[in-house]
């Protein structure tokens, strides 16, 4: 966790004081191997990339993978600890407009837990080959969940601020 205050905060951004100590603890359960060694190399949108990434689960948690191979898609939760955790208003470089942290998928957030929906290609021992990630090589893994279309899929969901931006770009 690195606080943004004072260092490199953009015009229109706002940081708040973080609590003195955490309320709960996470265990890393593995790591994610991707082709991207630096932030600038990562795809802007995970669906842009067909790169096969490998999720490696720690041996002690290996039994937890039983039946995962029957899932076509998974939700992966991972830890993006390279970003400030105290920003509540942000001006993402590629948008140039101020938004609240909770209206963004930016890694800069109080709890940098990313959620990515990935396509599962295969499981070999404790290694899962997947498509649909955009994170840095070596990113710590927090959780693997089966993706249930019945509760997780909402094809007609809309992010209004983003849609308006796309429409303005099209006109």
């Amino acid at each position: 966790m690195s606080p943004a205050k004072g260092l490199g905060i953009r015009d229109g951004e706002k940081a708040v004081e973080l609590p003195g100590r955490p309320d709960a603890g996470l265990y890393f359960i593995g790591h994610i191997h991707t082709p991207w060694k630096e932030r600038k190399d990562c795809p802007k949108n995970a669906r842009e990339s067909e790169a096969v990434c490998v999720v490696e689960v720690d041996g002690r948690c290996g039994d937890g993978l039983k039946d995962v191979e029957t899932c076509s898609h998974l939700m992966l939760l991972y830890w993006m600890d390279k970003s400030p955790r105290d920003l509540v208003l942000q001006v993402p470089g590629h948008y140039g407009v101020q938004h609240g942290t909770f209206a963004l998928r930016s890694p800069a957030r109080p709890n940098p837990v990313a959620v990515s929906v990935v396509k599962l290609l295969r499981v070999e021992d404790v290694k899962l080959s997947v498509v649909g990630l955009d994170c840095l090589d070596g990113t710590p893994l927090i959780d693997i969940k089966p993706y249930f279309a019945s509760t997780d899929s909402v094809p007609d969901a809309v992010v209004g601020w983003h849609k308006r931006r796309d429409e303005a770009a099209d006109s």
Copy 2:
């Protein structure tokens, strides 16, 4: 975090040793108000319930909600700390069959971070009224993310072990 070892572990379940200390820390950023005070009262499936729940964000994080009201749906991340964290194989009571923890959405997992996709009804100050939750009243909130259909929605995703179970029940 409560370890399952020795207490109430079912036949077919397996617990492993947890690390001595956590690798990362979470800050609770608010709480979720639901109608359910005990686990037995919670709906089995969030889509079963039309109950309106209220997500209350801590005041210090309130600015982070800017533009969230333009989202039709959100991903909520919350902390389910009432379950054991050391189970890698589980036999859920309502299924009665052994599965790996990472093939289940059970709250019992190394990092009990739940992800729910909810429909946003309205935002009033730091309170969000949503539909689509099944968690206990008072559950700690970890994160709010905009739901992007382009990356988060996979209508044809399949959980094979669950599908086979449904098909067996239908025949």
